[in-house]
Structures are given as C-alpha cells and as structure tokens.
Symmetry: C2
Subunit: 342 residues, 2 copies
C-alpha cells in the first residue's frame, strides 16, 4: 500500500486494521463540521469506545440485524442496498419514538473471501443515508463470519413528554398509516419464485424492499401536533397494530379496503391485500390519535396519510378485528414475520 | 403455554414474541429498583427503542460481536459462558475509557433448531455479570441465522476530562498492565489441538477464555489517580500497545521477561511467553502513566499491577521494540489476531 493506491482485495489478504482505515474514509461524509451532532463528538472511530457530550434530553437506543439468506439475498440486494437498509430499519425505530437520530455503531460480519470494495459499497450506501439525516457513524466492529450479518445500533434523542410509544392508544382514536403498505412484501413474494429475477420485479416494489426510507421528519411533525402513540410497521400492519393494542390495553378494528396500496402493488394482479396486512418491512408509521387531529396531520405531512381503522375498548381475543369491504370479518391467517419458523 | 409451565422448545416452534417474553423474565434481575441506572429508565424492552433520561456526562458507546466457530466453539464454551463473555468484552471497552457502564442492547442470531433453554442460559449468564456491575439489559434483537452470532452494545458514562484514551501516552511514561496475560490464548492453543478436550485444559486457563472479567472498578481508580491513557488488551499486548503508540505518536520498549503470567500458564511447559505478547482476549488494562504514579496505583488496585516497559519518543518502525531477558531484540512475529486471515 506504499503507493497510496489500493485495489480491491479479499478481506483475508487486506486485514482488519487496514480495512478499518478505508472505512474511516468511506464514512467521513457523515462527519459534517456544520452539524450540531458532529460538534458533540469527543472520541471518534479508533479508540475503545465512541464518546460524545451528553444532554438532558431523553436518550433513545435501538439495534437491528440483517442476516444473509434470512433477511436478504445478494441475488436481489446489493452491498450498497444492505448498507442503506441496515441503517434505515434502525432510523425507523427512532422515528417511531418521535426522536432525532444522532449516532450509529456498525457491526459487520462477513467471510474472508469478500472483496474490500464490496464492504466499502456497504459503508457508502449507509453513509449516504446517514448524511441525509445528519447521523454520524462513530464506531463499530468488524468480524469474520461464514454468513454476512449486519447489525447497526442507533442512538437518538427526544424531548421529555414528547415521545411516541406503543402504549398510548385510547378507545375512539383513529388508526392511521403513512405512505403505502405491502410493496416490500410483494417484492419478496415475487422474488421467492426463483424463476423471477430481481430485474423482473417492478422497480418501485424492489426499491421498497431494499431502500426503505425512515419517516424521521414525519414523526417529528406528529409529535409537534400532539400525537403520542406510534410504532413503525416492520413486522406487518396487523402484527404491529397488535403490539399497540397489547401495550395500550385496547382493541382495534381495521378496514382492509382502506389500507393504502401503491399503484405498482395494485398492478400486480396475483397479489392480494393480504400482503399489505401481514407482510412486513414497510417501515411506514402506524399511529393512533384523536380523529380530530387527522386533518391537521394530513395537511402537515408530505406523504399519504390514511385512516385504516379505529381503536376500541379492550375485548376478548383477537385484539385486532379485520373487516372486509362489506364490513364482514376477514380471516387473514397468521400475522407478521416469524423469524424462527423453519 | 396455558398451564404456565414452559418446557424447553425449539425456537422454530416457540416463535419470536413468546421467546421475548421469556427473555424479559430472564433479564429482570438487571432491573434493580435501588440502582441509579434503573431509576433512569423511561421505556424498557418491548417498544421500538429503549429510552432513558440523559445526563451531561460524557456518553460512551461500544459494540462487539462473537461468532460461532470464529470466536468460540460450543465444544468448550457453554451458552452461559457466551452470554457472560459477550457482555464482558464490551464492559472491558467501557473500562478502558474510564467509564461507568449503564445499559446494554443484546442482538442474538441463532438457528431455529436451538432450544429455548439454551437461549435463556445465554441471557442468564449475561444477567449475572450485568447485575454485578449494575448494567441494565434494556433491549435488543432476535433473529434467525445459520450461525450463532452474539452482538452486544453497551452505553456508559464518564466525567468530562476524566476519560482514558489511547492517545495520551508521553515519552518517559511507564507501560503497565493489570492481572496476568496469555491465559486465554494458552487455552485457545490447547483447544486448537482437537485431541484435547475442554476438560483437559487447566480450569483457570479455560476460565480466562470463557469468563473474562472487565476491569471496571480498577479503571475508575486509575482515572481517580490521574491516569489518562489506557486500552484493554483484546487483540494482544503487542498489538494493543501498538495502538497506543500510533494514537499517541510515540514508540515503546517492552521487556518480555517482565510480562506477568499466571501460575497455570507457567505450568504449561509447551507454551512460551509469546502467547502473553501476541495472544488476544486477555481483557486486562494496559495503561501508560508517569512512573511516579505506579506505586499509588499498585497500592490502590486489588489486582496485580506490573510495569512491562516504557514509552519513548517516536522512532522509525516498528513502534514497539520487544527486548528479551538479556535486553536483546526479540522477534515475536505477527502481532495480534487478524479476523479475516483464512
């Protein structure tokens, strides 16, 4: 490396410490001298821990892992996509608490025969998204593993008494979602058929799957407008609404025909509303609030805002009742992803 | 589960949400109502993120992963050991910054054919160590994976201007280590020979490998006494001293004969001082300070404290010169672990 030019090398040849030096360069754009978050950094990548100056705000922390062939396949997910999504799913959790994301630690495990430029693509994908939301990649970990595993931990902050939780829904509240649902699950369903290549999947569906956007600014607006109950839709609408019901001690009625679908989703004739109800990985916000707030919310947010049901007093199981377009109960089967199902 | 008695089940049969309920119970002892840290919790396991009240102290965050058959094998590491060690290696990083550990997020990836009681043993091993250091397990993530991967993220706090960094060594400083070195590497060397069972490895060596103790209270004393430069020995003494030299812009001389070895390590005739120099996973503290501070430090700490060398002005490569018992340069080969070496 004496000439300063580094060609792509297998990680097994490059070594951990050399790779860390390249990663420091790749994530440097997240260190924006003008940003309030960067100004707080006291110890950056390259010591035993990261360190930053504290604040009296509420401290938020979350972590999520993506595992090769469990959550993604390189057949349809690039290294850059993986970097983006690994951060996005965590940012979505910070959004779901009404917080501002600040710092990220990135743990990447991968085989020694991976090329350094693939790893750098991963960090570049993550860096682009981090820069957009002024999140600083401040540390992490690299290890060898037979299977690529990406675990990101994000720290955020929120104002006291201004956080969104799963436990704040009340009977009479409207159940509202941002954006459209089911596109990521539709992409997975299409890709599950091995005869279908990634190129044959409608681009907006594939994009929903590999490049989800966290609703951070939308969540800030919700908090400002007085909303206090939210979750991000990662397991699936029905499952995540079930979490709200459980934590809030309420029940809910969901109107399947009101669930917003993207035009591309609607255009895929063989897919049903079911994917939008029980498919996961939408990373939209699901929130509950007084119905009188909905018009203001719809006005303030720059994305679709759709009422899909209402919170009711707690009834016997199931907590969530789904009604079809005629108002009759709809059986949509087992809700949400179950990671350990074989 | 209607009778309240849950037999060990495969994760694939139990499901993620049911397992999370069992984990909440397993980690409950870390929530000690009397502890200052527990009193700060605002949102616990079971929402989108954990949340706690902030402070104006320096915020520390670190993460480390242990991967099956890369960092450990179940032939010699129990699930309880894995839980303990996964937390310990992160606590060691907080110690190396002079911080107090506060909260942990735990990401466990494992195959669906693992038993729930194995996963609970993992959390119990971690809970015992967390309770000892008043660290609260406040969230995390569970995913399926073909290979067991344990990634823990720990948050800590330190007083401003009272942190230990790698960059604060000065020429003339004594180089000091806590405890004894090489035991974990000696255990790995013995276990590497598949003819040797875990039972045949001297218990103190195996214990050093699977149940390392983080030097949190010792590090607090170092900071109080005025020490400002430290690292924990995870990669190996020579490699970690190299990190201090690089970050501090200094060189170092190490006296191999002064490196402290445990009696069990000395008793293993076929092992050489080399393991204590380049073997990793000691999780002892390596620090540099004015030689005049050493007697006070030795008096204050409840563990062995040994001067193993001295910091010198920066010279040409190598930054670290190792001398043998006659004061002659010793070639100890490639320092530290290299994760991606095949």
């Amino acid at each position: 490396m004496s000439d300063g030019i580094i060609a792509a090398m297998k990680l097994s040849a490059l070594g951990e410490f050399e790779l860390i030096e390249l990663i420091k360069i790749a994530v440097r754009p997240t260190h924006q001298p003008s940003s309030e978050t960067s100004a707080r950094i006291m110890v950056d990548i390259g010591d035993d821990t990261a360190a930053w100056s504290g604040s009296d705000l509420v401290q938020l922390a979350t972590t999520d892992s993506l595992v090769e062939n469990v959550h993604f396949k390189f057949r349809w997910c690039t290294w850059e996509d993986l970097g983006h999504k690994s951060l996005a799913v965590n940012l979505s959790d910070i959004a779901a608490m009404g917080g501002r994301a600040r710092f990220a630690l990135v743990s990447l495990s991968c085989p020694g025969d991976v090329d350094s430029d693939q790893v750098l693509e991963y960090y570049r994908g993550m860096t682009r998204l981090a820069t957009k939301h002024e999140v600083v990649i401040i540390g992490g970990n690299l290890t060898s593993s037979p299977v690529v595993t990406s675990t990101v931990c994000v720290f955020g902050e929120a104002f006291p008494d201004h956080i969104l939780t799963r436990g704040a829904a009340n009977p009479g509240d409207a159940i509202v979602v941002t954006g459209t649902l089911g596109s990521a699950a539709a992409a997975i369903a299409l890709l599950g058929d091995r005869a279908v290549s990634a190129e044959a999947v409608p681009a907006p569906l594939l994009r929903a799957l590999v490049r989800p956007e966290a609703r951070l600014s939308e969540a800030q607006l919700l908090v400002d407008l007085g909303v206090r109950c939210a979750i991000d839709i990662s397991d699936g609408l029905l499952s995540d609404l079930g979490h709200i019901c459980e934590c809030s001690g309420v029940s809910a009625t969901l109107h399947a025909a009101q669930v917003p679908l993207s035009p591309e989703y609607r255009g895929t004739a063989e897919l049903h509303t079911k994917y939008a109800l029980v498919g996961g990985e939408d990373y939209e916000l699901l929130f509950a609030c007084d119905p009188s707030l909905v018009p203001q919310v719809a006005e303030a947010l720059m994305c679709p805002v759709t009422v899909v049901g209402e919170i009711t007093s707690r009834t016997v199981s199931p907590a969530v009742t789904v009604l079809d377009h005629e108002g009759l109960p709809l059986d949509v089967g087992r809700p949400g992803w179950r990671h350990f199902a074989l």
